[in-house]
């Protein structure tokens, strides 16, 4: 039978436990509230400035009010589209090779290289794209900017493609082969479609990541006061405009920077949410 006398040491330990555990709860609350703080500030400061002009007008001359970021919005869209066209096929095909055809240790080397690319600071990738695509052609261009962003999309796409392909059940593969399909046919018509959701998720996440990148664009896509025709001219982009406007002394530009920030963050979060929805739907479909 337990004595009814309270052990002071036990009391201390129990109180300490309660205090420390509540502190961890506080930590979690702080971490989560940062997100809402960011969103809150952007909505309050940026929400007011997001108007029709913002989406349709070009920037006004320095010091004059008005103007918008229409060219930056289109510029970002073009950059992201081209970056996907560059980065996704490389990552996808590379992942297919690692999962389906691997031999002679190439897998280790490729994965290592992908990790290297992933860990490379984005400014260094910008230097690379400048040396490769800007200097020799004597042009800042949308293409060089998209190339830099595309490189950054490769590692995530590659790793995820490999993972999701490997996760496709053996039974599916063998079934296809047993029915007379060649290996490449089997991959194309059976295995890839089965892994499609996971891969799409990865592509969307990679896209969200590069959508907000500024540093590599500073010396590749540069910036542009006007619309950027084609792919060979410098182009304005949302992240670079935010940066330029935020460090300026003009209040009107600050206002526009908030609006652009809200738009950019909204874009990135929407892509992220989309990715998760795709993944969840896939999981649900598999379960049913």
């Amino acid at each position: 039978m337990m004595t009814s006398r309270i052990n002071p040491r036990l009391l201390w330990r129990k109180s300490l436990s309660a205090v420390m555990l509540s502190l961890t709860g506080v930590c979690a609350v702080v971490a989560v509230s940062v997100l809402f703080l960011i969103l809150g500030y952007l909505v309050i400061h940026g929400g007011r400035s997001v108007n029709w002009d913002f989406f349709t007008k070009l920037p006004a001359p320095v010091g004059e009010l008005g103007g918008g970021m229409a060219n930056a919005i289109l510029g970002s869209a073009k950059l992201l589209a081209l970056a996907s066209l560059i980065g996704v096929p490389i990552g996808l095909m590379g992942g297919v090779h690692l999962a389906e055809f691997e031999g002679h240790g190439i897998g280790f080397v490729v994965r290592y290289a992908a990790d290297l690319l992933n860990g490379t600071p984005s400014i260094v990738i910008g230097i690379f794209a400048y040396a490769l695509l800007v200097l020799p052609f004597k042009h800042f261009s949308t293409f060089s900017g998209a190339f830099a962003l595309g490189i950054m999309m490769i590692p995530i796409t590659l790793r995820s493609t490999e993972e999701f392909l490997r996760a496709v059940p053996l039974a599916l593969r063998e079934g296809a082969l047993a029915l007379g399909a060649s290996k490449s046919r089997a991959i194309l018509t059976v295995v890839l479609p089965a892994a499609y959701r996971g891969i799409l998720t990865a592509v969307l996440l990679a896209l969200a990541r590069v959508a907000g990148e500024t540093a590599p664009l500073l010396f590749t896509a540069f910036s542009n006061r006007f619309w950027s025709p084609g792919w060979n001219q410098p182009t304005a982009s949302l992240p670079v405009m935010i940066y330029t406007y935020a460090v300026s002394p003009y209040d009107d530009w600050h206002r526009q920077a908030w609006a652009a920030g809200l738009l950019l963050l909204g874009l990135v979060l929407v892509i992220n949410l989309l990715a998760r929805v795709v993944l969840l739907r896939g999981a649900a479909a598999r379960r049913s």
Binding site: A60, P61, V62, G63, L74, A77, K78, A81, L82, S84, L85, V134, L135, K138, H139, F140, T142, Y196, L200, F222, S223, N224, R225, F226, W227, S228, P229, G230, W231, Q233, P234, V247, S248, P249, Y250
Partner: protein, 342 residues
């Protein structure tokens, strides 16, 4: 997957076709000093000639010189003329000469933000050199207070702001300081980017103005229009004749008056600390850097056309933006020099 690819291809085509209009895009980069004037000019010129778009990015004179040398932009702009080494480097890299074309005259002003002090402060050359060297650290230092009797200067630390990027505005400022302070000349020198003894860096005239505006007790140097547009206080500087002058169009024009008559063929000249009772000591020309040979005929004609417009109609916009017009003698010489562009 197929839908995504299809969408991406459509966007690709859209981007390439729909926007490859007939307009000619000319890219330039460089000085932030004249950016308010240039952005107005290029905007007005585009309205007059909608087929020509001149995209100017205000990234600093250093970048302007670099990028025009590399050929990644069609023209550059700088408030510090290229030195002989840079001229040689350009000729080596590009096989032709680089031409300097003065556009407007401007002034660097010492702008400050002292809570409670709205008066215009007087600065001697020694005071300015001392502040930027870090040897004068407080606002109520005798070097400043002695020429500002009647102003209640606080005993607060002076927070120096300078440019973090390669800047012609810096070139003008350090050129002036090198002329008036032997210590500055030997310790720091002049250039678009120097090893600043003290202070923090803002990017572009815009960045410095922004920092000074937001930081109490700060002092920085910016082009006149940036201080005016942002309603910031700026002080008077004692010129070589001993008079305290506040930067304005008359003072800048006076500084250029002497140089106008003796302007060298290549237009590279420094007018800081110019003689004359009414001359503002930190004045400067600012230049467009145009290659002497431009392969693309359409671009060449567009640039020559713009230069002609700039020297005639364009000059009328300068004063509205607090830049001084070019002296008449200089305009005449420049109009002749346009024919050098082949």
């Amino acid at each position: 997957m197929k839908r995504f690819t299809g969408f991406a291809l459509a966007l690709l085509a859209l981007g390439a076709i729909a926007l490859a209009q007939n307009s000619l895009l000319i890219n330039g980069a460089g000085a932030t000093f004249p950016y308010p004037a240039y952005s107005k000019w290029f905007d007005v010129y585009h309205k007059e000639k909608p087929a020509i778009q001149i995209n100017y990015q205000s990234v600093g004179s250093g970048a302007g010189i670099r990028q025009v040398t590399e050929g990644t932009v069609d023209f550059g702009a700088s408030d510090g003329p290229m030195n002989d080494e840079q001229l040689k480097a350009f000729t080596e890299k590009r096989g032709t000469e680089i031409l300097h074309f003065p556009t407007v005259l401007g002034a660097d002003v010492p702008t400050y933000n002292i809570p409670g002090v709205s008066a215009e402060l007087n600065f001697t050359p020694d005071a300015l050199a001392g502040i930027f060297l870090g040897s004068i650290t407080k606002w109520n230092d005798p070097a400043i207070a002695s020429v500002n009797k009647g102003v209640n200067l606080p005993a607060a630390d002076i927070l120096v702001v300078h440019r973090s990027d390669g800047s012609g505005t810096t070139y003008i400022w350090t050129d002036y300081l090198s002329k008036v302070s032997e210590t500055w000349n030997s310790k720091v020198g002049k250039g678009t980017s120097v090893n600043w003894p003290v202070g923090l860096g803002g990017k572009g005239n815009e960045g410095v103005a922004g920092l000074v505006k937001q930081t109490p007790y700060a002092i920085g140097y910016v082009e006149l229009i940036y201080a005016v547009q942002n309603k910031m206080s700026y002080g008077k500087i004692k010129n070589s004749a001993g008079v305290f002058i506040k930067a304005d169009l008359a003072g800048v024009s006076a500084a250029a008056a002497g140089a106008a008559k003796t302007m060298p063929e290549d237009f590279r000249v420094s007018i800081t600390n110019a003689p004359g009772k009414t001359a503002y000591p930190v004045s400067s020309f600012t230049w467009l850097l145009i290659p002497a040979r431009i392969q693309d005929a359409a671009k060449r004609d567009a640039i020559k056309g713009f230069l002609h417009w700039m020297l005639t109609d364009g000059q009328n916009y300068a004063e509205g933006l607090a830049y001084a017009k070019l002296p008449k003698e200089v305009v005449v010489k420049e109009l002749k020099a346009i024919s050098k562009i082949q």
